[in-house]
């Protein structure tokens, strides 16, 4: 997919961010192109979540510029809300709306934010729920579903907004092992269909399989950026080598 005329969907330029005195993001520069799947890995506390969350301004930044499909992300206001709706986000803890049915969880965004009529929103939602394999749960509430099912609904909820890019922050980390596969399958399918994705994960086999590019972060910096085969077979930095070794230890 590396053509000359790639469209940049996300451009991060010289992003810096502090939490108090803690410098969590240090001069981050990253461009994600249309249809690209970028996987961010790195040790705990390296700033992966924070980076993900700055992309739709769930976290503010101190300096730098975030461009979503050509539009500079503003600090606040209606324009920010609109641009946010173009960036889907899937969280570790699913975060479905506890009081709404599965169907309403998926229709609420389109109906309220995009102004989609109820009937159309419901048809689209049912199609999406079918796509992620939970269409027969539509009338239930989130607490009645397994974690894996909830996460698939969360993905459907984001997709219902027709986002230009999807962000995933450790989408399988809160799941029982037997449910990880079903969520990764949905994500693999999405990637195959050409969705632009930024994924934070510790699932290295999955990363190797679906990523076009691996970003390795450490202490708030992007230390390495490479194609998966190259990265996993020959990491360029000692930090990355150490990190991959600890993962191997863990999986043993």
């Amino acid at each position: 997919m590396a053509t000359n005329e790639q469209t940049a969907i996300i451009e991060l330029k010289h992003i810096d961010k502090h939490f108090g005195s803690l410098h969590v993001l240090k001069d981050i520069n990253l461009t994600v192109h249309k249809g690209e799947v970028v996987v961010i890995i790195g040790p705990s506390g390296s700033g992966k979540s924070t980076l993900c969350r700055t992309i739709n301004r769930l976290e503010t930044i101190d300096s730098g510029e975030i461009v979503i499909d050509g539009d500079i992300l503003p600090q606040e206001g209606k324009k920010l809300a609109r641009l946010r709706s173009e960036v889907g986000m899937v969280f570790q803890s699913f975060n479905l709306f506890a009081h709404k049915t599965i169907l309403d969880n998926v229709t609420i965004g389109p109906r309220e934010v995009l102004g989609t009529p109820k009937k159309k929103a419901e048809e689209e939602a049912m199609a999406l729920l079918k796509r992620v394999g939970v269409e027969n749960q539509a009338k239930k509430v989130p607490a009645q579903l397994s974690g894996g099912q909830q996460q698939r609904v969360a993905i459907a909820r984001s997709l219902a907004m027709h986002p230009k890019v999807m962000l995933f922050d450790e989408p399988t980390s809160a799941l029982d092992p037997e449910m990880i596969g079903e969520v990764l399958d949905v994500m693999t399918e999405l990637a195959r269909e050409g969705m632009t994705m930024v994924i934070v994960t510790h699932e290295m086999n999955f990363a190797r399989r679906v990523a076009d590019r691996i970003i390795f972060m450490d202490e708030g910096r992007i230390l390495e950026e490479n194609e998966p085969e190259a990265f996993f077979s020959a990491p360029g930095t000692q930090r990355a080598k150490d990190f991959l070794n600890t993962l191997k230890e863990r999986d043993r």
Binding site: L83, R84, N95, L96, F97, A98, H99, R157, S158
Partner: protein, 219 residues
């Protein structure tokens, strides 16, 4: 006087008193809930002056004694050339105080929601008001049914303040003093009012429990 004698002579007065108490109770509670929701939205809004004003409001009305507020409304406001009918003055007092408690209950109801859902709403592109309307308030209200039930009972008891002003028809507490100035009702006159208050409270409690069971959010 026996209960039968009292009811024979003052039965219709008791009925009117009960209606007055119910009117004050339910109108106040209705208005207090609306005010409570508005105050709560202000307290969680991103606009600092609104937060401060709403917090101040809650501090004032959560802490002022009902009788003091009623005295202010009835005796102090006329100095500002505002003369309220007695019923209105009582209604205002029994609305403002419960509204601050309502806001407190909604705030703790909100704490059950969790930051994750708020972030999910924001990342869908919802505005603050959309988030409040569709995600925050419905859950806050549904998890506050039991405290709000208690608040309804407390509001009813607060309406006894009405006995401090000359209302006609008077309320369930006022009727006791009325009877005791017109006849020798004694403790029995009070007993009838007490039974009516308690009976109503029990019914409210039952209904509240059932509503809570119906709307409780599975987590």
């Amino acid at each position: 006087m026996t209960i039968q004698e009292l009811l024979a002579q003052f039965g219709d007065k008791y009925l009117q008193a009960l209606i007055t108490t119910y009117q004050l109770t339910f109108i106040s509670f209705f208005l207090a809930t609306i005010l409570g929701v508005i105050i709560t939205v202000m307290r969680v809004s991103p606009i600092r002056p609104l937060q401060i004003a709403a917090d101040f409001y809650v501090q004032i009305f959560r802490n002022i004694p009902g009788a003091a507020l009623l005295i202010l409304l009835v005796y102090a406001l006329p100095y500002l050339n505002i003369v309220l009918p007695y019923f209105t003055a009582v209604l205002i007092a029994t609305t403002l105080i419960p509204s601050s408690f309502c806001s407190e209950y909604l705030m703790s109801g909100m704490n059950t929601i969790g930051a994750g859902q708020i972030e999910a709403a924001r990342s869908l592109g919802m505005t603050f008001m959309q988030m409040i309307r569709h995600v925050v308030m419905p859950q806050a209200i549904r998890s506050s049914v039991l405290p709000m039930t208690n608040l309804l009972v407390a509001t009813m008891l607060t309406t006894a303040l009405a006995s401090q002003v000359p209302l006609n028809p008077t309320d369930l507490t006022g009727i006791v003093s009325y009877i005791n100035t017109h006849a020798v009702g004694g403790i029995t006159a009070f007993l009838i009012s007490a039974v009516l208050y308690c009976g109503t409270a029990v019914i409210i409690g039952q209904i509240g429990n059932q509503i809570d069971r119906k709307v409780r959010i599975l987590r």
